[in-house]
Symmetry: C2
Subunit: 129 residues, 2 copies
DNA sequence: GTGGACCTTCCCCCACACTGGAAGGTCAAG
DNA sequence: CTTGACCTTCCAGTGTGGGGGAAGGTCCAC
């Protein structure tokens, strides 16, 4: 498979594929006599894995970690479990932070709604922030 | 006020103050005979405003927008209200997205917990992602 | 044999909010 | 007169996930 074919099959771009190779998410593929990259069709599955992991909010660095464990021949289940577990806790924290921020911002907005616009003095710092 | 003094008074750094000037969050201050920046002490209040706005999750570009409206002599109340209102809706969407993601990731993690590690075949793409 | 689609490497570019460091100028104290 | 704290400008880099485009090579059909 040439790079454009793989890009179409996996729903990405040739730019991204070369980038993934550069950051070690994809192994360097074989080359044809003319120097073209020649991919194993299995690479599509690897790219699906990467896409799903990204959708789960993992960074490319974390995905690379998982793939390296697997490429070394070890089943990455425990590693993946730990990674996902940490990710769940991270999400819980992010959600709590956003809830707190939402409360603050809504309060600020409501105080701006109630105020008399005439009491807004342009020469001072806005009273609502 | 010289730049270091302002930095200490506002809890930031001289680097950041020069950066804010470069991106038009702060007006260019007067200069002393020796070429040093000489700030109006009111600048502390402006920096507090910037800090509070950042804490509300506004970007520097949005903060600059508000400050430019105010610097033009118009009270920015309505503008600020609209900005905060949009921000609240943005936060609601972000929170909903994270909730959905949290559900997905927790499900993936739990399926990894229940599985028999022996069923993990390193030669295939990990079944948990 | 030539046109066009595809490929190669290379280097620079985006947002975001700064941060680091080099090379040199200013100012007050001792 | 010198030391050291402070200041100046300018250039470049951080991390994330790629995108743009130049200059040139390859391959296949017509």
């Amino acid at each position: 498979m040439r790079i454009g074919e793989l890009a179409r099959a996996s729903g990405t771009t040739t730019k991204t594929l070369r980038y993934y190779e550069a950051v070690a998410l994809l192994p360097a593929p074989e080359r044809t006599a003319g120097g073209y990259r020649d991919y194993d069709p299995k690479t599509v599955a690897r790219l699906d894995f990467i896409r799903r992991s990204q959708a789960a909010g993992l960074t490319l660095a974390q995905i690379r970690e998982v793939l390296q464990v697997r490429d070394a021949g070890t089943a990455p289940c425990h590693h993946v479990h730990d990674l996902l577990d940490r990710r769940v806790h991270e999400l819980d924290r992010q959600i709590a932070d956003l809830h707190a921020l939402r409360l603050t911002v809504a309060e600020l907005r409501d105080s701006a709604t109630e105020a008399d616009p005439e009491s807004c003095n342009p020469s001072t710092v806005c009273r609502y922030l």
